[in-house]
């Protein structure tokens, strides 16, 4: 499993390397190179899992199965494209004086460390280490959010730290309870926290303990997913940090938190034989979709608006996994993929637009299409894609979620339709105002800081492809993962 060790080792090494050279002018290229190497290693790993099936590594400490392997690839891919996007972005920020050399070093080092913790959380087999990696990811991103040291960014980072710290502490209590239940069946040896062992004996776990454990795990990881009412940290952290950080927060961190929740749900379903976990996930998922949709209406800051859109989509995925069954799980996984791709593409476009306009207030950004057609189109297409317009992938997954909901949970359909409609109106109106009309933006930057359009269109292209055609191996993969989650 050298591919796995490389996937985890390269970003860790990268964090140390960037701590030494991150302030140099070539650090941005090194950042891209490191992320590219990580992505390559992840591809090799994926290829091995696809051909040889689920595998352990390091004496059961790591476990790769269909559920996490596609998230590993996705994480490494978005990590790479965000690094490509951040190369010109950070150069411009440095020109504007917002990023000083020490801040750049911190940014580059923490960026790699964040990737490392995400990949560790995805691949570890130990529920305790999963928690440790999630907490470490919080710590790494706290520093990234506050990197500009403005009053608002410090406040956002403080809120993020305290809220997520408290939230994730509840998940630790849940993990302790889970261990307590497992210990009775598996003995006090270290193996009692390994997910594969827990999965094997899940029907024998004590239902009383597991009920309480899931409640705490749900609060804990749910905070990180951004579920209402514990979502307050999310818009602030997205809006006040550098845009590449917003892209990885939405594209990766929320996914990984949801992944942790899914692992816990599989165990809980097995132990309880009641739909407790499903009901909790459906209820809070729906609440998040609705609340976020109405909050979307009153946003003035473009990054805050798309942060609320992330809450909405995470709620939709949580709802889908709560409904359960092969189709809804399939749709949830597909939605995880396309949301991650499209939302990070939007943040790339937003990043370039706000840099050009010098503001994040939507009323002050006008006529993107005139100022730069490539930028205008990426913004417009990204917004249409995230709003669920065919033929993009979000349409396919939302369509599947809606039709399954109609069949299995008809009561939820009107709420979902209402929320999706409101979200469409709110986002479309704002984006169309920003994109069309006469421009108020200054002329473009110099050639060597030309914005990176490649990541945006690569993501949009993949999102488009998933809406029209899902490659057979990907399809088989989703099906396996969906079947594994049962429900």
């Amino acid at each position: 499993m050298y591919a796995l060790y490389a996937t985890l080792g390269i970003p860790l090494f990268g964090a140390l390397l960037q701590a030494a050279v991150g302030h140099r002018s070539f650090a941005r290229e090194i950042n891209v190179a490191l992320s590219a190497a990580t992505f390559l290693a992840a591809c090799v790993l994926t290829e091995r899992i696809v051909t040889q099936g689920p595998q352990f590594a390091w004496d059961q400490a790591f476990f790769i199965d269909p559920l996490n392997v596609f998230l590993v690839t996705l994480t490494a891919f978005v990590g790479l494209t965000t690094a490509i996007f951040s190369r010109p972005y950070m150069a411009i920020e440095a020109e504007h004086g917002k990023m000083t050399p020490p801040r750049l070093r911190l940014y580059h080092s923490m960026y790699q460390l964040f990737n490392c913790t995400m990949l560790l959380a995805l691949t570890t087999n130990n529920m305790g280490l999963l928690w440790v990696a999630m907490e470490a990811a919080t710590l790494a991103t706290v520093l990234l959010v506050s990197v500009y040291r403005t009053a608002a960014s410090l406040e956002a980072a403080w809120k993020y730290f305290i809220l997520c710290g408290v939230g994730i502490a509840q998940a630790l209590f849940g993990t302790v309870l889970l261990f307590m239940a497992a210990e009775k069946v598996l003995g006090a040896e270290g193996g009692a926290l390994l997910w594969t062992n827990l999965d094997a004996v899940k029907t024998q776990l004590d239902p009383a303990i597991i009920t309480l454990a899931f409640a705490f795990l749900f609060i804990g990881y749910g905070t990180k997913v951004g579920l209402v009412p514990l979502h307050n940290w999310l818009p602030d952290a997205h809006a006040e940090g550098p845009t590449p950080v917003s892209a990885v927060l939405s594209g990766l961190l929320l996914n990984v938190a949801l992944y942790a929740l899914l692992r816990c749900k599989v165990l809980t379903d097995g132990a309880l034989q009641t739909p407790l976990a499903s009901r909790l996930m459906m209820g809070f998922g729906l609440l998040s979709v609705l609340t976020a949709a109405f909050f979307l209406l009153r946003q003035k800051d473009v990054k805050r608006m798309f942060a609320y859109s992330s809450i909405e989509h995470m709620g939709l995925m949580t709802f889908a996994f709560g409904v359960g069954g092969p189709v809804a799980n399939f749709a949830g996984l597909l939605h995880m993929t396309v949301h991650s791709l499209i939302k990070s593409a939007i943040f790339f476009a937003v990043g370039h637009a706000t840099q050009r306009a010098g503001t994040q207030i939507m009323a002050d950004i006008r006529g993107l299409m005139k100022a730069s057609p490539l930028l205008g189109w990426s913004m417009m297409l990204g917004a249409l894609a995230i709003l669920g317009m065919p033929p993009f992938g979000v349409f396919a997954s939302e369509f599947l979620i809606l039709t399954t909901a109609m069949r299995e949970q008809p009561w939820a359909t009107p709420f979902l339709l209402l929320a999706l409609g409101v979200a469409f109106g709110a986002v479309f109106m704002r984006v169309q105002e920003m994109v069309f009309g006469s421009t108020n933006l200054p002329a473009g930057g110099t050639a060597h800081t030309a914005p990176a359009h490649l990541p945006v269109y690569a993501h949009l292209g993949l999102g488009l492809m998933l809406g029209i055609y899902i490659p057979p191996y990907l399809d088989a993969w989703y099906r396996q993962a969906a079947a594994m989650m049962g429900g």
Partner: protein, 219 residues
């Protein structure tokens, strides 16, 4: 012999609960740090006793780690920070102590009720104390909500971590070593980041009062 150790653990658990209440009632930042140190010391004692009873060597290691981190290093760091920031004699003025304590009692009753059916299933010698650990977590939570000073919020956060560790020892025989090490590392890095943060907050706002800092709207 077993009975005596059981009594000892119950004693330490009640001391832990008492200290949680003392923290809830304490207005002075500097005294809060001392209380936090005492809480850490109680945790070390409780972990050691469970270690002696169950002959689990990794519990000694866990106790040593707690001693090093939560009794020595973190209080020392916190003292240093408040000295440098000149907030040593800061007093929380806007909290109603009696009401907070009453709320705390309600939380304890709630925690005991929640933990009662579960603690009977535990195989640890310290099973009766799971309720206390949960109560401690909730009390720390309450403390974080009611305080407006950044340092007090951080101490509430650390106290919550202490109670979680106590929960791990009382519900089971402590988490596997690799997990415990990972958690300790996270706590240490977390506190270092928070320390740096407090200096940045101070530089930016001339205050460590969270009420002065909250400007971002709730929309």
């Amino acid at each position: 012999m077993q009975g005596m150790f059981g009594q000892l653990i119950n004693l330490f658990a009640s001391v832990l609960l008492l200290l949680s209440f003392a923290m809830l009632a304490q207005r002075r930042v500097v005294t809060l740090i001392d209380l936090f140190m005492l809480q850490g010391a109680t945790l070390v004692a409780a972990t050691t006793v469970v270690g002696v009873v169950t002959h689990q060597p990794h519990l000694y290691l866990s106790a040593a780690l707690t001693l090093l981190l939560k009794v020595a290093l973190i209080p020392w760091l916190l003292h240093r920070v408040i000295r440098q920031l000149n907030v040593r004699w800061d007093v929380e003025t806007l909290i109603n102590i009696p009401t907070t304590l009453l709320l705390g009692i309600v939380l304890v009753i709630f925690a005991f009720n929640l933990a009662l059916p579960i603690s009977q299933l535990s195989s640890s010698v310290a099973r009766g104390t799971l309720g206390i650990a949960l109560a401690g977590v909730l009390l720390s939570f309450l403390m974080m909500i009611t305080r407006s000073k950044a340092v007090s919020q951080v101490i509430g956060f650390l106290s919550m971590e202490n109670c979680l560790f106590f929960a791990a020892t009382s519900a089971t025989y402590g988490m596997p070593l690799v997990v415990e090490l990972g958690i300790a590392l996270d706590v240490l890095v977390g506190i270092l980041i928070l320390g740096v943060f407090m200096f940045q907050l101070r530089e930016r706002f001339d205050s460590l009062d969270i009420r002065h800092i909250e400007k971002l709207k709730e929309d």
